[in-house]
Amino acid sequence: MNKKQKRQLLQTMAHLLALLPLALLIWDNSQTQLGADPTNAIILRTGKTALILLMFTLACSPVNTLFRWGWAMALRKMLGLYVILYVILHLLTFAWLDYLFDWEFIWEAVLDQRFVLVGFTAFLLLIPLAVTSNRYSMRKLGKRWRQLHRLIYLIGILSVIHFMWLVKNVYTEPIIFAVILGILLLLRIPSVKRRIAKWRKGHRFSG
């Protein structure tokens, strides 16, 4: 298998993996396995999948710099787009199944509930990133493209806060996401990056 084939295989696997939660959701729904409150189950599952995929997206760059696994960078855009796919499904379920497009209720739900407000803000911030996730935009925006796409750090923080604020006092899961996010952001700090690079070098020479 040459390099190109390897990369294609990897991409295919990533597609399948990212689509698996959706396939499972559709399957469970068809088998009425979503329980007494399917609406809530769909909202929770699409939301959690989006959050997990967001963590994977944020992991691509550190994986590349730390381990020199260039293939990770090739998956970043795809993973990011899957994040917004699941976020759209998450929002659609909220607006449609939960609120039946009753805008009076939805308006109140968004404005009166801070966890919805931060979640919705994260979604709005995702839109420009999705729209500019192509080579044309990268060329056109140049330096500003990188600056714009740093919004993903803020989106990550808002998403974890969104989760943290909606749970009923058992914070185990949101804390796990917060710790992972914290590590992924920490690994982007230049001094931390330098230190790890130095440490790696030292090991390579001694090894």
């Binding site: 009425t32 409150d37 801070r114 058992v170």
Partner: protein, 330 residues
């Protein structure tokens, strides 16, 4: 023994949909089959006493086997809201003693021993004592009460409970003049209730009512639902049901009832005092600090409906809070 009683909530008989019309034809055919099966089973059943409930029967969908569920005597609450299915009520449970996953409680709670079971009634009462659940079932006539349940998480159900007013028990034990509050405690059994090993809460579960709230006719000690004894996941063998308060006030699997002059601190008050107060009355105008309480979704339906003050029981309970600041006393 099952005694049907009016509960202060009058339902004109004209509003009740006859069972045969209510069931769709398909369900009706299924029910007919199930009745036949039920009749066969009942003829083999050793315990005749259990079949005192009218045997209108439904089937549980989505399971390989046909379960026989005794039906309640009515299909709606007094406002015409359809009751939830037995399957929904028995499989969607907020019972943190087992797990925080509502869909998993039923499985984890299956087989939890509900007998023998005793309730200790103590504190400021003339007749303290330990009451056996079987004795309680004998001493107090069980009535059916169809109540709306509104969870603080904004979902809702309509449930046909069986039980008796807490006032009857309190009258028997005779609170002294000093008693002002009733404090309830759930069984503490971390070996069999895995959720009680969670460090996020201080176990056991505690709840409390003001004595006049406890004496209100709506306040029920429930021992059953859908015409049968309470299952473990629904808080069996005996739980509180306070329909005008958020669901968490309706403490499950009670082992202690104490009359006191001090305001009890509930598990939720201890866990997050800024979010959960002592009263926890259903109130669309007083939001949870992190989410709105203005709308609710009834399990089994899509879309939301407006939440009503005291969950629609204002006529029976609003006088308890005359002159009180409901936002301060949340």
């Amino acid at each position: 023994m099952l005694i049907k009683k009016q509960t202060g909530i009058e339902i004109p008989s004209s509003q009740l949909t006859p069972q045969s019309l209510y069931l769709s034809r398909r369900t009706f055919m299924k029910a007919a089959t199930a009745v036949t099966v039920a009749a066969l089973l009942a003829s083999c059943a050793p315990n005749e006493a259990e079949t005192a409930v009218p045997a209108i029967v439904g089937t549980v969908e989505g399971e390989g086997e046909t379960a026989v569920i005794p039906s309640p005597s009515t299909q709606t609450d007094e406002l015409g809201n359809a009751i939830n299915s037995f399957e929904e009520i028995a499989n969607y449970n907020n019972y943190y003693e087992f797990t925080t996953e509502k869909e998993d409680v039923a499985e984890l709670a299956a087989g939890y021993p509900l007998s023998p079971w005793q309730i200790e009634v103590s504190g400021m009462v003339k007749n303290p004592g330990v009451y056996d659940i079987d004795k309680i079932r004998q001493d107090f006539d069980q009535e059916e009460r169809v109540y709306r349940l509104r969870c603080v998480e904004t979902w809702a159900m309509v449930i046909p409970w069986m039980g008796f007013p807490l006032a009857k028990l309190l009258n028997k034990v005779e609170p002294t003049g000093k008693a002002a509050y009733v404090r309830f405690e759930t069984i503490h059994d971390p070996d069999n209730m895995p959720g009680q090993k969670s460090a996020w809460f201080e176990w056991p579960y505690i709840e409390g009512l003001r004595l006049d709230e406890a004496m209100n006719d709506l306040t029920l000690l429930a021992t059953g639902l859908y015409g049968q004894e309470l299952l473990p996941q629904n808080g069996g063998p005996v739980r509180l049901v306070v329909p005008w308060k958020y669901g968490f006030k309706s403490i499950k699997s009670i082992v202690k009832i104490e009359l006191t002059d001090k305001i009890p601190t509930s598990l939720w008050m201890a866990s997050a005092p800024n979010e959960y107060g002592f009263y926890a009355n259903v109130n669309p105008n007083v939001d949870h600090p992190r989410w709105s309480q203005g709308a609710e979704r009834v399990i089994g339906k899509n879309g939301r409906q407006h939440t009503t003050l005291y969950n629609g029981y204002a006529e029976q309970v609003a006088h308890l809070y005359d002159g009180m600041d409901l936002a301060a006393n949340f």
